[in-house]
């Protein structure tokens, strides 16, 4: 409240704009909304740095009580946590690269007019069909099983290798680039691969940053494929681990259940695990944030 009032009065002096009572009310409401958006994140941080006695007494709100690193040192003793963290890192790298390569290639080929690439509309219809219609949980599981991906990293990468929504966003972005660029490149003797790599990719960086952010976030955040395609705990990605151990510890189906359950979870320990799980998103988010609004509005809205 003070902060906004101060900032507002500075701007008021500079620009000579007048703040009336309505403006103050609106700013206050928006400030409360912003705090509500951050509150759960701040609360879980506070909890993860508090002593377990303070946590179980329920007195932790937004500041840590009896500040301690103990929950984090406890994580270090949990080999499954680190293991699943690295499964997630591997998944994001491999899946992100596969998504990136396929998205860019497909979006570029599909960005051609029908007159230049006659099969374009056929491909487009297949893609839109696949976007809207899928086989459902059980048939998909059976295909993944019969292609031998169960308990491999590829089970988390291949079924989501083509992010169709991202392909469409990027394709629309490519179609918005000036036609003359392409003609000039053709006159200079450029083939399609060179055109894609040296002209289209550099020009589409905001859109590519956006779709890459989406695909990285998707890979980091998904837990369900890890749950159904991974039978062994050591193959589970981080979100699946959290889901199994923090949210539903009663439903662990894994073979080494007893061993896992011995690492009894406390409230602060769980909070620390959740913090580490969301940390990568909190770290990359500010850097990519500025791109995505531009990317999504340019790519998805057409005239």
């Amino acid at each position: 409240m003070d902060l906004v009032g101060k900032k507002a009065s500075i701007s008021m002096n500079v620009k000579g704009k007048k703040l009336n009572i309505t403006d103050m009310i609106i700013l206050t409401i928006l400030l409360v909304i912003s705090i509500l958006c951050l509150l759960p994140v701040i609360h879980i941080f506070a909890l993860s740095f508090s002593s377990s006695s303070a946590a179980s007494a329920g007195i932790v709100t937004v500041f840590p009580i009896d500040f301690t690193f103990a929950p984090y040192t406890q994580i270090i003793d949990d080999p499954y946590f680190f293991n699943s963290f690295f499964v997630s890192v591997k998944r994001v790298l491999l899946g992100g690269i596969v998504n990136f390569v396929l998205t860019v290639m497909m979006a570029f080929a599909l960005s051609n007019e029908k007159s230049e690439f006659r099969s374009r509309n056929l491909y487009m219809w297949i893609i839109v069909f696949a976007f809207m219609f899928n086989g459902g949980l059980i048939p998909t599981y059976m295909v993944v099983q019969s292609t031998g991906l169960i308990d491999t990293l590829w089970a988390l990468v291949l079924p989501t290798a083509v992010p169709i929504f991202n392909v469409i966003i990027l394709m629309n972005f490519f179609r918005g680039l000036p036609r003359a660029l392409k003609d000039a490149a053709i006159v200079d003797g450029s083939g399609p691969w060179r055109m894609l790599i040296q002209i289209y990719i550099p020009l589409a960086l905001p859109a590519i940053a956006t779709v890459t952010l989406f695909s990285i976030v998707m890979h980091w955040n998904s837990f369900f494929d890890g749950l159904i395609y991974m039978n062994k705990t050591e193959n589970m990605p981080l979100q699946t681990y959290i889901q199994q151990l923090v949210i539903r510890p009663d439903e662990i189906t894994s073979a080494n259940k007893d061993e896992i359950m011995q690492k009894a979870s406390s409230r602060t320990f769980n909070a620390a695990k959740i913090v580490v799980t969301m940390l990568p998103i909190l770290v990359i988010y500010p850097f990519l944030q500025k791109y995505f609004v531009k990317g999504i509005t340019l790519g998805s809205v057409k005239e």
């Binding site: 701007s11 928006l30 080929a109 297949i126 219609f133 899928n134």
Partner: protein, 296 residues
């Protein structure tokens, strides 16, 4: 300008993606024939017995599957309505802020929850809503009572809808904010000269200006009416709230993969897919007719 012999490269660029789409997206659709079988995993699709529409008739007789369809539509409609009202209101408020720096900081903060997973958020919410959690501390301070939000069939759908709106309203506001910037500023200047108040300007210029976008978003959301949010409910629910919270996707997961009733679960999933497909086609046709919207 045309150049020769290059279409082969375009086919090559599409080939790997198309193979993957075919195997993991289109091929499973054929697996839906299990819905017409008494599927036994050991015998496979070719060996299992054909039973016609028995799975479907059984599905309609089951009390639980009717409840599941109702819950799905109820929760999804509430989410759709709230996910239009809240982002529009928020965008209108934000649009009234004249200081760009404050505006951008607020935007950055409210987008954030969209990028956190439901696993993480469920972990946070379960803690905050527990008997000993932050929210109950506040409630018991005022009323002296403790509420069990995630164990009550009255409160569970409310928690689901509100937490979804909380997570997504900032992100959903992006498209509304984009529509707001497209409104011709001359209209506001003219209104200022005519002495229009703030509310009048919102009512006569801003709202008509974003009306097409609101219509478009509402139309497109028709196609999502059977998607009540698997990740969210799966991570927040428990047997106590199956009655109010169980949706098609969670039901298919439990009957199919946990209880191994593959035929029945596939039938339920197929029912959802068919209705959903029809609704999506319908919503895209409406969007094309009334808002001239095309996906490509």
């Amino acid at each position: 300008m045309q150049y020769k012999g290059v279409t082969i490269h375009y086919h090559l660029m599409l080939l790997p993606g198309m193979i993957i789409l075919f195997i993991y997206n289109l091929l499973p659709i054929s697996g839906n024939i299990m819905a017409f079988q008494d599927y036994i995993p050991a015998k496979g699709i070719s060996g299992s017995e054909w039973i016609g529409f028995e799975n479907f008739t059984y599905m309609f007789e089951l009390e639980s599957s009717r409840r599941v369809f109702f819950n799905t539509i109820f929760i999804a409609s509430m989410k759709i309505i709230m996910n239009i009202i809240v982002p529009v209101t928020f965008a209108l408020l934000l649009n009234e802020v004249i200081f760009m720096k404050i505006k951008r900081s607020i935007q950055t903060i409210v987008y954030l929850p969209h990028f956190l997973s439901w696993v993480v958020l469920a972990g946070v919410l379960i803690d905050m809503l527990s008997g000993n959690g932050l929210i109950n501390k506040v409630i018991s301070f005022f009323t002296g009572e403790t509420m069990f939000f995630l164990a009550s069939n009255t409160w569970f759908p409310v928690v689901i809808v509100l937490s979804d709106v909380w997570k997504e309203f900032g992100f959903n506001a992006i498209i509304i904010l984009a529509a707001l910037t497209a409104i011709n500023p001359a209209l506001y200047e003219a209104a200022d000269i005519d002495g229009a108040s703030r509310l009048r300007k919102i009512w006569h210029i801003t709202l008509p200006g974003i009306a097409p976008t609101i219509v478009l978003l509402s139309t497109l959301s028709i196609g999502q009416i059977l998607n009540a949010g698997f990740d969210q409910i799966f991570n927040l629910y428990n047997p106590l709230v199956y009655e109010s919270g169980d949706i098609i996707d969670t039901y298919v997961y439990r009957t199919g993969l946990i209880n191994a009733q593959f035929g029945l679960a596939t039938a339920v999933g197929m029912m959802k897919a068919v209705i959903g497909f029809v609704l999506i086609i319908l919503s895209y046709r409406l969007a094309y007719r009334y808002a001239n919207y095309r996906i490509f």
